[in-house]
């Protein structure tokens, strides 16, 4: 079945928090250690169904290393949803969540839907961020928070389904007439050419 809507979703977070594993688990239902060959996990797709509509999420992985930090805006440009991931066993990764959410609110699309994932919940004993603290922060900034584990699959399906639903609702509210596959033709776009008078002047000269 062809999807009726397609949306771009980015995963953000510090290196080694498990954002790639999370998208891989969501898209293929597998943890990467189960795979036998190279897994191209930087771009994946996940189909979800909401109210009878087939929705396809294009999952864009982003670089986690600090030295690639400046490239992030290139990746989240045009994204309709973002999953900000932190590792519950690493406090510093949660601190980065705060700056990611701030940055997304300021620089990404105005209507971007953000959710936070506290990953590696299979290692509950090593937890450094209490669930209450994380939930309180999420409530404060008005986003949803999920506990996830890419290894066991806990919360993975839920976070993607919920984000897909949120994005779908926001986009439908914004563009009720969006065509099939969420495609918008260029036809309606106004073509702006700066310094029009200059062109006219040149034309007159010739």
């Amino acid at each position: 079945m062809e999807p009726s809507q397609e949306f771009k979703i980015v995963t953000l977070g510090e290196g080694r928090v498990g954002k790639t594993s999370l998208t891989l688990k969501a898209a293929r239902g597998q943890f990467h250690e189960d795979e036998r060959s190279t897994v191209n996990a930087n771009f994946l797709q996940k189909d979800i169904t909401f109210q009878g509509n087939q929705i396809r999420l294009h999952l864009w992985d982003t670089a986690g290393q600090e030295r690639f930090r400046a490239l992030a805006p290139n990746y989240y440009r045009g994204a309709k949803g973002a999953i900000v991931v932190y590792d519950i066993t690493d406090k510093s990764s949660f601190d980065r969540v705060v700056s990611w959410v701030k940055e997304l609110s300021m620089q990404a699309d105005k209507d971007i839907c953000i959710v936070i994932a506290g990953n590696k919940c299979d290692r509950e004993k090593e937890r450094q961020i209490s669930k209450a603290e994380a939930m309180e922060y999420a409530r404060k900034v008005g986003v949803l928070h999920f506990d996830t584990s890419a290894k066991t699959g806990m919360g993975v399906e839920e976070i993607f389904s919920e984000l897909g639903r949120l994005v779908y609702e926001v986009q439908m509210k914004k563009n009720p007439g969006t065509g099939e596959r969420g495609y918008k033709s260029r036809k309606g776009k106004k073509i702006i050419i700066k310094k029009e008078e200059e062109v006219q002047k040149k034309k007159d000269c010739c």
């Binding site: 771009k8 795979e35 060959s37 986690g64 495609y183 050419i193 062109v199």
Partner: protein, 378 residues
Amino acid sequence: MGKKQSKIPCSYSDIDLLFQTKKQKQMEFFSKIEGFSEMSCEWIPYVRDRLAKYNKYIWTEELTRFVNTWNAHQDVRSKIALAWLFYMRSTQPKPKKQITRTQLRNYIGQCRTFTILLENDPYMTLVYDQLAKDKSNALYQLIQRFGAALKMEFTNYHPSKTRIELKEEVIQNSAYHAELLTNYIKGFISILTDSLNKFYLNLDQHIKPEAQELIATHAVLSGEILELLVKTYFVALKSDQDEYSEHLRRLKGSDLHSLSLDESLRINNGEGYFDAIKNLVDISYSTTLTDILDKVSQYSNNIKSSIDNHNPDKNILLETDKFLEISMLLISKASSPNLPTMMKIAENFLHPYFKSQEMEYVITTIQGAVGLLKTCSA
């Protein structure tokens, strides 16, 4: 000296007669086709009207002159197109080539590309081939005229010159002219897209509107128009290009050991990725937008294949950090001369059909890797 007589004696009147007979036969054939006699030639006044809306731009003058030479009463151009569609419908077309999905994926890569769409849709192939290759097609001629008009405006145009030489004023104010050219091309694509449905009657039944725009975009961005675009963008992006060239010179012969790639991904210091390196080189010499995007798609696919071949027993998770680092290594090895320019064109003219898709992701990553070369030490 050097001029030989033709082996077949043939006068101009013979040639005229030949074409007249051919035209007569065509008309006889087309008259048997359903819808032929009812079909109006409204596409000609339609193109004129659309051009009139852009009449403040210089390029429309040339095109309007050209369109005014078309005679709507004796027009067979759109009728030929109709006959083709009729023929396609009556023969229950199959995809152009009978190839397996795996073969196609190996050739093109994993991304959704225009070539894959063409391979799977004979109607799209027919219309694209006519717009991009069929010299007798009126819309093909219109595209060529548009290209000629652009050359007149942006270059020191002379029919005897084969190389495109930008006008001094274009070079001096390159950013403005690059934007102007981009808008001209997008404007023309819009006119062409709208005209398609008038030219090929009932085209909507066979090809979705967004795919029609896609065909128009790829048909326009080839040959001389793309060459002019590359030249103009290259000048407009001079500082980026110079910086990129400088980093390539600095990193020449280096294996970029500052990257955190282990041997399983480094693969003989990048030499193992020879297909992907070749793709990067080929991007610079592409003559169509389709070609550029195919190479981008193949590049991504070839990286994965090389890792698979080199590590048959390992499970490797190729995430964005690693993909970026591999790209940095391969870009420094490929030394593709105008990669930033080509990627900017790919980005600016990437059709909404491919937006947010893997194609856009790979373009973003290559652009990111180009920008990160400055952070590499030799």
